[in-house]
């Protein structure tokens, strides 16, 4: 294993496109469509789908799916709006499903 230099990066599982940093993790206790998911404050090299209202475990939210910009694999979603006060902290943050991202050499 090469010695780690620089930030710890997560990549798209399909095409290894750098999509998020470990330092941007806010919480690891989220549930995605098919398993565990992490909440990140920032994402890069992704494109967003259309906004839609979805009933998630924590209530109604407006979310937009995020896609890897290179291979267009769905990696998670972005919270656009939360309708309950207790969920407002999620607005503008990104969910990446654990199964869809891999650690890039660390």
């Amino acid at each position: 294993m090469a010695e780690l230099v620089g930030p710890r990066v997560y990549s798209c599982c399909h095409c290894r496109n750098h999509v998020c940093l470990h330092d941007d993790i806010i919480s690891k206790a989220f549930q995605g469509r098919n398993g565990r998911a992490f909440l990140f404050s920032h994402a890069m090299n992704i494109s967003m789908g259309p906004k839609e209202d979805r009933q998630l475990m924590t209530g109604l939210h407006t979310v937009a799916d995020i896609y890897c910009r290179d291979c267009r694999e769905v990696l998670g979603w972005k919270y656009e709006r939360a309708f309950e006060e207790s969920q407002k902290y999620k607005e503008g943050k990104f969910i990446f499903e654990k199964a869809k991202i891999v650690k890039e050499n660390w």
């Binding site: 399909h14 095409c15 290894r16 496109n17 910009r69 290179d70 291979c71 050499n105």
Partner: protein
């Protein structure tokens, strides 16, 4: 009057009837011919050259296909081509009936027939010695053992589709080259177990290789091009567990004309230069989503690729106006440029390119497959 007509028809020999049958072109005419009387039914079966079951998403259709397959095979002794698509539960036992057509069978396709195992391949290798083309796409249970048996029996193989045969390793591939001297087209898409060293010593007849989403090592890449005859190479989404770029080895494929390096994330400028200088005959090259290529790479392509007609640079993050200009200053034979979604290219850059090279067609569509359709190589003429 009726008696005379009937007598005349009875006097027609089977040869005449076969001649007449071969002039019928529509399937319904041919079926009607076969249903006239026992003799004509026999002629229809003798003259049947191919059985093709197309892919359908209806499970009832699959059941029908599976049921009538054995009867059709039993009746038709002179088949050239049998193509079965989507019969995922077809057992090896069903292949025993292929022996009836045995020596005349040239092309077999088991597209998505994941029930076929090494035992089935053994039946094919014994019963079909003149096989020229074989498709085992998504036959997950095929292993090196089955492949070796197959090659030992079918020396005339030219085209082999092993897409998604994940249990295959370099040993199986090496067996192909030991036993099949005419092999020209191989598809190893998604075969994660291959590193490429099995291609060592491959003959110059190997001209087409599809290796989508494979994990070929740098040494393996060297062996892949060692035959010298490769004209078409598809390395779309080449995976590299170490993150190292071994693609400069592709520069040893002197006869290469079509190269697909789409989504090769680890491709560097050095490799691009090596390929551009080592492969002078390159006609179409896809570098879409290759973020590692920068100005030195684009300059090398402009300078060295004198036969390049079609270039794909869709969504490359590191092609800027200077790089585009370098391409425009060189590449004398360029006819089509697929360019779209490149963040660093400005409208000025595109406009300058259009003025400098008015005859080059700029296209925004992104193409996954380039060059000649490889499917055609699996269809008999």
């Amino acid at each position: 009057m009726d008696d005379n007509v009937e007598n005349y028809i009875n006097f027609l020999s089977d040869d005449c009837l076969i001649c007449i049958f071969n002039k019928l072109e529509s399937e319904s005419d041919r079926n009607a011919f076969g249903l006239t009387c026992k003799n004509w039914f026999k002629v229809r079966n003798i003259a049947r050259k191919s059985i093709i079951f197309h892919c359908s998403f209806n499970p009832k259709v699959y059941k029908e296909h599976a049921n009538c397959l054995s009867k059709l095979l039993a009746r038709s002794p002179y088949l050239n081509l049998v193509s079965l698509a989507g019969l995922t539960e077809l057992p090896d036992a069903a292949l025993n009936q292929l022996r009836i057509s045995g020596a005349s069978l040239q092309s077999l396709s088991f597209y998505c027939c994941s029930g076929i195992t090494d035992d089935g391949l053994e039946v094919v290798s014994i019963g079909c010695p003149n096989l020229v083309s074989l498709e085992l796409y998504r036959c997950f249970n095929i292993t090196d053992h089955g492949l070796e048996n197959l090659c030992k029996g079918c020396h005339a193989l030219k085209s082999l589709n092993l897409g998604y045969c994940v249990a295959i390793s370099d040993q199986g591939i090496a067996a192909i080259f030991r036993n099949c001297p005419n092999i020209s087209t191989i598809i190893i898409a998604y075969c994660r177990g291959l590193s490429g060293v099995g291609f060592r010593g491959c003959p110059g007849t190997l001209s087409h290789l599809e290796a989508e989403s494979c994990m070929l090592s740098p040494d393996g890449l060297l062996d892949v091009v060692s035959g010298g005859g490769l004209e078409y190479l598809n390395l779309y989404n080449l995976k590299s567990p170490t993150g190292l770029d071994g693609l400069d080895r592709v520069g040893y494929a002197r006869s290469l004309r079509f190269l697909n390096l789409r989504m090769c994330r680890y491709l560097t400028d050095d490799s691009v230069t090596a390929i551009a200088s080592g492969c002078p005959l390159i006609e179409e090259w896809s570098l879409a989503v290759c973020h590692g290529v920068r100005l030195p790479g684009w300059s090398a392509i402009g300078l060295l690729c004198n036969k390049l007609r079609i270039l794909h640079v869709n969504r490359c993050r590191n092609i800027c106006d200077q790089g585009l200009q370098a391409l425009g200053d060189g590449c004398v034979c360029l006819q089509v440029l697929h360019i779209h979604g490149c963040g660093k290219i400005t409208n000025n850059g595109l406009a300058s390119f259009s003025i400098a090279r008015p005859n080059v067609k700029q296209r925004v569509d992104e193409v996954m497959c380039i060059g000649p359709s490889i499917e055609d190589l699996f269809r008999l003429q």
